[in-house]
Symmetry: C2
Subunit: 439 residues, 2 copies
């Protein structure tokens, strides 16, 4: 389902490749993926998407259909197309593991490969890493403000296409969401699925109580009933009556879902109705234009809500829908390479990030240095692919979730807040790297 087409690239990558081949420029190139600055409202970012990058690199090859189309386009010589036909990714990859928290100017992924291979993969590597990292970062903010709540990705319909929907479900799950409503994300990645019912289901019935009863009997113990189609609290009373009716038959209703109106007030009203009816085990789930700011407000208002469906804001990262993520040449044929474009200058060479923590394991300070210039602290960038082959089997999503949770626990309080910290996290550039950039 996640596309591996080699034509998922920009035209200039292919025209540059033809030039590299024509002029024998096949020396070793080092490219690094990093983010130039924090997106608005963010204190940190969380890496996600590495697994899909490694899949792409391992499977990269031009099929006969791709080559025929390129030949017909009239831009490429038969000699070049022969070279493309046998092109495979044979390079090395170093990266921060998924779920790692990182900051601007830190190399998240490094590709070391013959120049044409390293160049060709730029577009898709950015495309895959940028988006999942964006969503994991957004999701982590909800996880931080709603500890202990069941958070579910409801965003597929407003995601930017199918792949975005799937990758968003994965990134949110890594960051700490409990699951997704997107069925294909369950099938592809094994992410737990959640779902309730739609207004159309209630509307298609002539009677709301009958709609509830039919559904609850079909899914005993697993039913979350949508109560806001007509009159929310009246519907909750119907649910309470139904719950008692079903209880006599040994069946239970799991919860009710609010999807509009004043969620805090309705949740309190619904909770009272349910509690008064002795239904303390029936949960309240809320959805409808939610994001981490609304979650924080609802928490501050003491709304008795047990879980949230978060959709559009999550999958589009609506307050910051992109990262200033780039993949830049840092070294070619053994020499560091610099770029001096105003506002876009880069730190040259192969780099490492060392993270220093305090006695409780909280993040203190990162140092970005040349790989050869070891610093104190834990190095974050590790080898993941050698000669075009993965060094390890894919990590399980559960392992990634555990890493993400541990990273979030290690955030200093000021960085865990929704507001931008007055004192940003300290990322130092080591002296030798500064010196190299001045040359």
């Amino acid at each position: 389902m996640i596309s591996g087409s080699p034509l998922l690239t920009d035209l200039y990558q292919l025209t540059m490749l033809q030039a590299y081949f024509a002029h024998g420029m096949r020396g070793t190139a080092v490219f690094e993926f990093f983010v130039r600055k924090l997106p608005p409202h963010r204190n940190f970012m969380m890496v996600a998407g590495l697994e899909q990058v490694l899949d792409y690199l391992e499977d990269l090859r031009f099929g006969s259909g791709d080559l025929e189309w390129l030949a017909k386009s009239g831009r490429f010589s038969p000699a070049f197309l022969d070279q493309l036909a046998s092109l495979r990714f044979t390079g090395d990859v170093h990266a921060m593991p998924e779920g790692t928290i990182f900051f601007p100017d830190e190399p998240v992924l490094r590709v070391t490969a013959p120049l044409p291979e390293a160049q060709l993969v730029e577009s898709r590597i950015i495309n895959l890493l940028q988006y999942q990292t964006l969503v994991a970062t957004k999701a982590a903010r909800s996880v931080l403000v709603a500890p202990g709540k069941l958070l579910v990705d409801f965003g597929f319909r407003r995601a930017h296409g199918a792949e975005a929907g799937l990758l968003a479900a994965r990134a949110a799950y890594i960051a700490g969401y409990a699951g997704t409503a997107t069925v294909l994300a369950g099938a592809e990645f094994g992410i737990p699925l959640y779902g309730t019912m739609a207004h159309s289901y209630v509307q298609a019935h002539d009677d709301e109580s009958a709609a509830f009863r039919d559904f609850a009997r079909l899914y005993p113990g697993a039913t979350v009933l949508l109560v806001d189609t007509y009159d929310t609290l009246a519907a909750v009373r119907k649910v309470a009556a139904l719950a008692h009716e079903l209880k006599r038959e040994g069946m239970a209703i799991r919860g009710v879902r609010l999807d509009s109106g004043d969620l805090a007030a309705l949740a309190k009203g619904a909770r009272k109705i349910l509690d008064d009816a002795g239904l303390t085990e029936v949960t309240i789930f809320a959805s409808g234009n939610l994001d981490e700011y609304r979650l924080a407000e609802l928490s501050a208002a003491g709304a008795p809500i047990d879980g949230f469906g978060v959709g559009t804001s999550l999958v589009t990262s609506s307050d910051a829908p992109y990262l200033d993520a780039v993949y830049k040449l840092q070294e070619y044929a053994g020499r560091p390479r610099l770029k001096r474009s105003p506002g876009k200058a880069t730190w040259p060479g192969r780099k490492q990030v060392h993270r220093q923590t305090d006695a409780e394991g909280r993040l203190l300070r990162d140092v970005v240095s040349l790989e050869s210039d070891a610093q104190s602290g834990v190095p974050l960038v590790v080898p993941v692919m050698k000669g075009g082959k993965r060094l390890h089997p894919p990590e399980s999503l559960e392992a990634l979730r555990a890493r993400a949770a541990s990273q979030l626990r290690a955030l200093p309080q000021r960085l865990a807040a929704l507001e931008v910290a007055a004192e940003p996290y300290e990322v130092d550039i080591a002296p030798k790297l500064r010196e190299l950039a001045r040359v």
Copy 2:
């Protein structure tokens, strides 16, 4: 490449389907897709994505792998899975043709089908229509402020996944962009491809002039050289010298590309260098964090720029990354259906939009009415699918571009501006529809 998986849906669609089948609820349902309100900064929207919706509906079927996975999930009965196995979309679709300008509360697409079929397809229909409409709407704004300029989609790397990159290229092309850099969008849709070179190409060479010369000789007449890697105007002088050298051999350079710095000042400086060298035919192309606001500024500053590469802002619709787009049940089993959730109430019944224009063909006023309640003006919603089969072959992208261009020409001046019009476009709800909603 555009996924047709039937599992691209929300879990609740499948659990509702099982309930519909269990209770014999297979009557005719009418759902309409519409947008509840204009996104920020917008005066209109432009429809795109219908073709992919029709492909999806025609091809919809559950394969054995899908059914096996659903069976293993433990939520569905064998009887229901048998029904899913034979499920096809057998309904009718009415829609506004792609490239049509539309406004909130107007039905853009209507599905009339047995309830389970019409329900199942909700998630993917919204997913496909929402995103392309979002991008076409964003792209149209650049087209309006940069008439006569070559506009190219450079956004793949920051698009939300592969499908977003492809669909964005298509939507932008419909709205009036000249083409895209995304190779697979050329291969899939026949969209013209454009490309220049990357900074890494220049950096990998020891000498900028040599980098330019190699590329220009390989692509005579088609080369656009990136001049901002080190010192922009110095690089333009190198291009001028190279252009003369190549001219003697009968070769030409097409243009230079600016990607950073003060684009207006650099374009003026570059234009002067090129003109002084007698290279008036060499064009100037600009890119780098552009959007329609920057295009308008550059135009106001008199920047002599011939074309623009627009990336991130286009494919993420960065200032409005989603539409409040929904797909709502309007009628079931012959009866109009209403929803009363606060802020989310809907106009019931099967609806049509009639557009009234002035003597010059400019948009004057739209009327939303029940389909049976004809109004003056041109009806915008037309039949496109009957009994699950397309009524016409797909329209060519050129035809869609022509429609979009004609629609943009028909916009009143106030709606063609980047700022929100003081007087919004008039969309009236016909009296009989208001009356039905009051019932």
